[in-house]
């Protein structure tokens, strides 16, 4: 992979160079939080952001999009509105690029999605390294560094951005920038390595994922799921802000006269009561407990079976957006803790896995979920 460096004092000029490749969108401060938005001036960009409210997923899988229009006599007419928009996403964190790589697998698998794929081709990604906050655990999820899925990636090394060129398009941007970029020196490489090592040590949250599917298998009947079900509001915020949740619903918006209309795709959430409702009225996940359990199992266990890794990237958005402070790291810790306690108190293992109640002493040994932020 080609490496270069860009003086920080030239970053605004480089942003204008990439305006030639598309409209520049970057994190912008919004009521004390951050959101990816189109820039109307460079000073709006906040590249020191923690996390955006919604991930860049919104550009590739919009919350609402028309797939087809249908008209009398014409049948279905594919809708390409906005598909060919040229956008440059400036300042995407590694975990979010990693999430897009995961979505790539989903939308290019057995049923390739031309809408997603076209947007993925048309949207430039310029990544930027970040400093983990109290909720980040991307390092645990092996998503704190990406080798692909971006055009350029910037790492802060002091007065310069150490730059990885990820694609031919990234190379074109470097070429268009004339001599704004400079070759890296050995000292730059040493500084990059030093900062990378320092970042590794700065994560405050850690979760072990190696045997997570097995832990989930063992804890299928844990009382934790009922407890979480009691707390969960089924609001779906965790799914909306998740960079890898991709459930969607497809509905027909029929216009007056019933002869024309649109087929529309909208984001859905497995937390919504209607998610597992079938046309015949059967509902496979009637309770909140069953729905939140499904979400955890799909992300941390089901996805591993299908794609070889959990779909969670450790961005921390679900934790920060949850109105009742359900925290994925704490849930996993509790599940692991139970297993640990179970080993200490071996008879409980059998009891719990047969769905019987767990002793009060067992429950008391668990940290209170609501304590966590």
């Amino acid at each position: 992979m080609r490496t270069l460096k860009l003086p920080k004092t030239r970053l605004d000029f480089f942003a204008s160079v990439v305006q030639q490749f598309g409209e520049v969108h970057a994190p912008v401060e919004q009521d004390g939080k951050y959101a990816f938005k189109r820039l109307t001036r460079w000073s709006q960009a906040r590249l020191d952001y923690t996390r955006t409210i919604l991930p860049p997923k919104k550009y590739f899988l919009p919350p609402r999009e028309t797939l087809f229009r249908y008209e009398d006599g014409k049948g279905y007419v594919p809708c390409a509105d906005g598909l060919n928009e040229r956008i440059v996403l400036f300042g995407v964190h590694a975990c979010d690029v990693f999430a897009l790589n995961i979505l790539d697998q989903v939308f290019s698998g057995s049923y390739p999605d031309p809408y997603y794929q076209t947007r993925r081709r048309n949207i430039v990604i310029i990544g930027i390294d970040c400093t983990p906050d109290d909720h980040c655990f991307c390092r645990s999820m092996r998503a704190d560094f990406v080798e692909r899925g971006f055009d350029l990636f910037f790492f802060d090394i002091g007065d310069y951005y150490f730059t990885l060129v990820g694609t031919a398009r990234g190379d074109d941007m470097v070429l268009a920038a004339g001599s704004l970029f400079e070759p890296v020196t050995l000292g730059d490489v040493e500084e990059y390595k030093r900062r990378s090592s320092s970042k590794r040590g700065s994560f405050k949250r850690d979760v072990e994922i190696r045997d997570l599917p097995e832990i989930f298998e063992l804890e299928y009947r844990s009382e934790i799921w009922d407890e979480l079900g009691d707390r969960c509001l089924s609001c779906g915020s965790c799914s909306m802000v998740c960079p890898t949740c991709y459930c969607f619903d497809v509905t027909d918006d029929v216009e007056l006269g019933s002869r024309t209309g649109r087929r529309v795709r909208t984001w859905d959430s497995c937390l919504f009561p209607s998610h597992a409702m079938t046309a015949t009225g059967e509902d496979f996940r009637k309770t909140r407990a069953s729905r939140i359990k499904f979400r955890f199992y799909h992300k941390q266990r089901g996805f591993v079976a299908e794609y070889g890794r959990p779909s969670c990237v450790g961005c921390g958005r679900c934790t920060t957006s949850c109105p009742v402070k359900i925290d994925v790291v704490e849930v996993v810790d509790r599940l692991r803790g139970e297993e640990y306690v179970s080993k200490q108190r071996s008879p409980d293992v059998e009891i719990r896995h047969h769905g019987e109640s767990v002793s009060a002493a067992h429950g008391a040994a668990r940290p209170n979920l609501s304590d966590g932020g």
Partner: protein, 132 residues
């Protein structure tokens, strides 16, 4: 019969340059509109719909003019207005280059400051014709 005056919007944060260029264009029978920054330029362009915009780049922000060009190009009512970029950008940052036909920065001419006024006038005549 006297024709409709051609209107030129000058966008520049340098008041001296704004005034001198304004006088020069008025002397050549153009009606001149003036804006000191990108936001003001956008407002004026939407109201007045000028025949030509002369845009500085480095104003309050060093790339303000380029982002203003983008905003003009994405507005269906303004996107066809020709834009001449007048800037000292290349002399101050020689490595920086904006191709005139690329994406959101599409512009019609790039003239480096200090501007050769007779060349500018010739290019204006070429692009939008004489003043009246």
């Amino acid at each position: 019969m006297i024709g409709v005056e051609k209107r030129i919007l000058i966008v520049d944060d340098d008041s001296d340059f704004l005034e001198s260029l304004s006088c020069f264009l008025e002397a050549n029978h153009f009606l001149v509109l003036k804006a000191h920054d990108g936001a003001q330029a956008l407002k004026l362009a939407k109201i007045e719909h000028p025949d030509l915009i002369l845009m500085d780049v480095m104003m309050g922000e060093r790339t303000e003019g380029l982002f203003t060009v983008q905003e003009i190009r994405r507005d269906p009512e303004l996107q066809d207005i020709p834009i001449f970029v007048l800037s000292a950008l290349y002399s101050q940052v020689p490595e920086f280059e904006v191709s005139p036909d690329r994406g959101w920065l599409a512009h019609d001419e790039f003239l480096s400051k200090p501007v050769d006024m007779s060349l500018l006038l010739a290019k204006i005549h070429q692009r939008i014709g004489v003043a009246r």
